[in-house]
């Protein structure tokens, strides 16, 4: 298993490298002048030429790409923001916790509400409670989170004045962003839980479990849910990644100084380095989440684990017997 984790971690390197190359290439070919961004409007042409030369913007594409990759992967430095002239690495260090908090709490809610809701739905299939849950989760999936965020602000900040509309501070500041960010995840989790539970409910081993005289709660917790969990874990991993990256709009609306906010600002200011840095960081985070998802799945389902560790274990076993 350890070997597998190591293998997966190593495999992340080419993935992130590819992301970096892709992002750099796209931005390289985007029309626009980095020197102009750095120098600001109304800079004389000679000065711009000078700046271009010093930034290496006149070098061929591959030289520039190589320089950037060397800087990011060898020096572990995301560079300096063009507009604010701050270190992107330290900017990210300051901002990542906000995005992470938003996504972590969001995913926690999605799990804690979505799974029980889905289980309830599946157990009461086609009854009133299930119908309501299905409609509600359908709504949750369909409602765009930026719209929900705006409606929440309208209701709770503008009309009722209960919650602050933007900024960061105490818990009150986090309530609306988290709700807006996690409703979609909650709904997809509930829907996935319902459908995979329905699949499991009619399995033979549930009949076996019932024939053992187990209580309903034991059957659900020990037999149904663990078997229904695999697709739920996949969906949760995707949701988590989505919340982390997709928090971008939520962060913008509520002016939370996270990575997403930084990215949108970078985009509007045409701050190429800031955008590249943000995207690379998010892609690293996403890869780690996907790895965690796979590992949790292996932990839940021994058949998946056997695929990863199987050949290693089987080779070792006969030796153990002989000894």
């Amino acid at each position: 298993m350890l070997k597998y984790i190591l293998k997966r971690l190593l495999m992340m390197i080419p993935v992130i490298l590819c992301v970096a190359i892709l992002v750099f290439t796209i931005i390289y070919f985007t029309p626009g002048d980095a020197a102009q961004v750095v120098a600001g409007q109304g800079t004389p042409a000679e000065k711009l030429d000078e700046l271009r030369e010093s930034m290496g913007l006149n070098d061929p594409y591959f030289v520039q790409l190589g320089r950037y990759l060397h800087q990011v992967f060898v020096k572990l430095d995301l560079g300096t923001a063009m507009v604010n002239k701050t270190s992107i690495t330290s900017d990210m260090q300051a901002r990542f916790p906000y995005s992470m908090t938003l996504a972590l709490i969001g995913i926690a809610f999605a799990i804690c509400v979505g799974i029980p809701l889905g289980v309830y739905s599946a157990l009461h299939q086609n009854k009133v409670g299930d119908r309501i849950a299905v409609v509600v989760s359908m709504l949750g999936v369909s409602v765009p989170h930026f719209w929900l965020a705006l409606m929440l602000i309208l209701l709770f900040s503008v009309k009722l004045g209960w919650l602050p509309a933007y900024g960061v501070g105490g818990i009150a500041y986090w309530i609306m962003p988290i709700i807006a960010n996690c409703v979609g995840g909650m709904a997809t989790t509930a829907r996935q839980t319902r459908s995979s539970m329905l699949e499991v409910i009619h399995c033979d081993y549930i009949v076996t479990a019932r024939s053992k005289g187990l209580k309903q709660s034991q059957i659900i917790l020990r037999h149904m849910l663990p078997n229904a969990l695999i697709p739920i874990i996949t969906v949760t991993g995707m949701n988590f990644g989505g919340m982390l990256g997709g928090g971008l709009i939520i962060e913008q609306i509520f002016t939370i100084p996270g990575v997403g906010f930084y990215l949108t600002k970078g985009i509007t200011q045409r701050d190429y380095y800031a955008v590249m840095g943000g995207v690379i960081l998010l892609s690293v985070a996403f890869s780690v989440i996907m790895l965690a998802t796979d590992l949790i799945q292996a932990f839940v389902d021994p058949r998946i684990k056997a695929q990863y560790a199987g050949d290693v274990k089987r080779r070792r076993k006969p030796h153990a017997r002989e000894a």
Partner: protein, 354 residues
């Protein structure tokens, strides 16, 4: 049912004693009376079991024989109270286990009965085990939920059960996907026998296994049956298995028992045209018949059963009366029952001669 925490040996002894008692009194340990089950959906109603009655003495093995869809499994699931509801609806009847009606028992009472007094072995071992739980844990779970034992004790018992069905105790923490079909069925048997049940429902326990493994599993069941003196209902469509395992046989056709009696009665002196037909379809190992005589036609559609005798559309002895009148069970010899109007007309000897 006070299995309590008494140890294995004590339990076994008390069970044998009880077996002896019952034997003297000839007390019926399990009695099913007039059981009816149907499956109702919006489109149609399937009449799966229609007024089935039978009884079983302690320590005996009853074979429920019938074609696919005859209602055998439904009978077993009704006894265990695990019919999928909806769509299953119990239309009526009684199931008495040691005198208590378990058909009307509450879900809570059934928790104590299932897995403890009545257990079940399933048809397909490949899917009957939870794939994400170790097999040891799956055995342990039954013991834990029915007997007041410590975790260690339960684990020890589970390991003993594994050994008993011929699996090394060290495989306790392995998962179902690491076992072959026959081995999985052994695990299922271990689960079923873990709490020394009074009644074991074996629902086609060997159908999904290949022939050599079938023999092994049947041998195992026989040995354990002798050891634990458990009453067994063996559901099968394999007459060979029946003749090897059962004391009594009930032939199920279209949700009814059409003939019931001791193994000798059924195999030596079959009376119902359906049973005669079934026996006619088995090649005799020393016979020289060129052609077997199968029963013409198909089992009736359980959503619209024929009136009168359910078998009359396929019966070569059918008379006018068979087509309209419902046919009752008649005792044609002590302990040998048959559901046929025409028993007298072409007499049994004549039938057999054909």
């Amino acid at each position: 049912m006070g299995n309590g925490a008494s140890n294995d040996a004590g339990n076994g002894a008390s069970k044998t004693m009880r077996g002896a008692d019952v034997g003297e009194e000839k007390q019926k340990f399990l009695e099913v009376r007039d059981l009816s089950v149907r499956y109702e959906t919006k489109e149609e109603t399937v009449y799966a079991v229609n007024g089935v009655s039978f009884s079983l003495e302690k320590g005996r093995t009853l074979g429920l024989v019938g074609e696919t869809g005859a209602g055998k499994t439904t009978i077993a699931r009704a006894i265990l109270g695990i019919l999928p509801s909806p769509p299953a609806v119990v239309g009526g009847g009684e199931i008495l286990l040691g005198g208590d009606d378990i058909l009307g028992a509450s879900e809570r009472e059934m928790h104590d009965i299932r897995g403890n007094r009545v257990t079940m072995i399933f048809q397909d071992p490949m899917t009957a085990l939870n794939p994400v739980m170790t097999i040891g844990r799956q055995i342990e779970e039954v013991i834990e939920s029915h007997e007041r034992v410590s975790k260690d004790e339960a684990r020890k018992r589970a390991e003993e059960m594994l050994e008993m069905v011929g699996i090394l105790a060290e495989r306790y923490s392995e998962y179902p996907h690491q076992f072959s079909g026959g081995m999985k069925q052994r695990v299922v048997i271990a689960i079923a026998l873990a709490c020394n049940p009074d009644l074991l429902l074996a629902d086609e326990p060997t159908t999904a296994l290949d022939v050599t493994i079938q023999a092994q599993v049947l041998d195992l069941m026989k040995t354990l049956h002798k050891k634990q003196n458990t009453s067994t209902i063996l559901i099968t469509h394999d007459l060979g298995v029946v003749s090897e395992m059962c004391d009594e046989v009930a032939i199920v056709y279209a949700g009814e028992i059409v003939e019931m009696g001791s193994l000798e009665d059924i195999f030596e002196r079959p009376a119902h045209p359906y049973m005669l037909g079934l026996l006619g379809a088995i090649p005799a190992i020393d016979g020289d018949e060129e052609k077997l005589s199968p029963i013409p036609g198909m089992t009736p559609d359980p959503t619209s059963l024929p009136p009168g005798c359910k078998f009359h559309p396929r019966c070569k002895y059918a008379a006018e009366a068979c087509k309209s009148e419902p046919v009752g069970m008649k005792e044609i010899a002590p302990g040998h029952f048959c559901r046929c109007l025409n028993l007298a007309a072409p007499n049994l000897a004549a039938r057999e001669a054909e």
